[in-house]
């Protein structure tokens, strides 16, 4: 892993179009500004990893899982007044 020391206000360039700016340091917290092209996904790692794991767990769903549950949650469209 590359380790760099930076001061507040200084930046790090990653490739040609990603810049990370150290905005503020307070005790154990660092505030970063990240400039990246629109297609680059930037997330707090722990949130991103939780979403990724949730997606993987969700992908296990099978048709049979909905038996019974389907009935619990939905409204029969013929019984509701809204559809028309």
């Amino acid at each position: 892993m590359l380790v760099l020391t930076r001061k507040v206000g200084e930046r790090i360039a990653i490739g040609e179009d990603i810049f990370v700016t150290i905005l503020d340091v307070k005790g154990r917290q660092v505030k970063l500004g990240i400039q990246a092209p629109p297609h680059t996904q930037v997330h707090r790692e722990e949130v991103y990893v939780r979403i990724l794991e949730e997606n993987r767990a969700a992908a296990m769903a099978q048709k049979e899982d909905l038996e019974g549950l389907d009935k619990l949650i939905l409204v029969d469209p013929r019984g509701s007044g809204k559809r028309g």
């Binding site: 629109p38 997606n55 992908a59 389907d70 619990l72 939905l74 409204v75 509701s80």
Partner: protein
């Protein structure tokens, strides 16, 4: 094209019905193209079937059925990135997880799939700082007061 799937057998689809996630979906970076299949005519659930892998499908639900103000939480820059001019033009889907042991289903309202219906492109976005949860319990709604939920018009499928 004909797609061989594990859940639905062989299905015939039109290539132009594909919804493309250019960056994939977190956890499935190779999964780019999907089609939306209805679970059953009366069901609020759909399946987002992947075209690259017949075994991969996500169970999804329209989050507006859970909260009709949901679109208000989508950040403008996410809309802009997908070329969606106004939030009302966006399509959103929430991935549903089935917790078999606990016999419950939850919807990921924290990270919806945002889709531009015109370009048929989408991405999973994270609504940081919103009040929405990654595991919004859908079953709690019904077991508390099934009768009441059944009469709620907002739960009717949208056409």
């Amino acid at each position: 094209m004909i797609l061989e799937t594990t859940r639905f057998g062989k299905i015939e689809l039109d290539d132009k019905d594909a919804i493309v996630f250019p960056d994939g979906i977190p956890g499935f970076p190779e999964a780019r193209r999907f089609v939306l299949l209805q679970h059953s005519p009366q069901s609020p659930f759909h399946w987002l079937q992947n075209l690259e892998d017949g075994a991969l499908a996500f169970l999804v639900i329209d989050p507006l059925l859970v909260d009709e103000d949901y679109l208000g939480s989508i950040p403008e820059e996410e809309l802009r990135e997908l070329g969606i001019g106004q939030v009302g033009e966006a399509a959103v889907l929430s991935i549903v997880r089935v917790h078999r042991e606990a016999r419950k289903v939850t919807a990921n309202l924290l990270a919806p799939l945002l889709i531009n219906p015109k370009t048929r492109r989408g991405k999973q976005v994270i609504l940081m700082g919103s009040r929405y949860e990654m595991r919004h319990d859908l079953t709690a709604l019904s077991t508390d007061s099934e009768a009441e939920v059944r009469e709620k018009p907002s739960f009717a499928p949208q056409g």
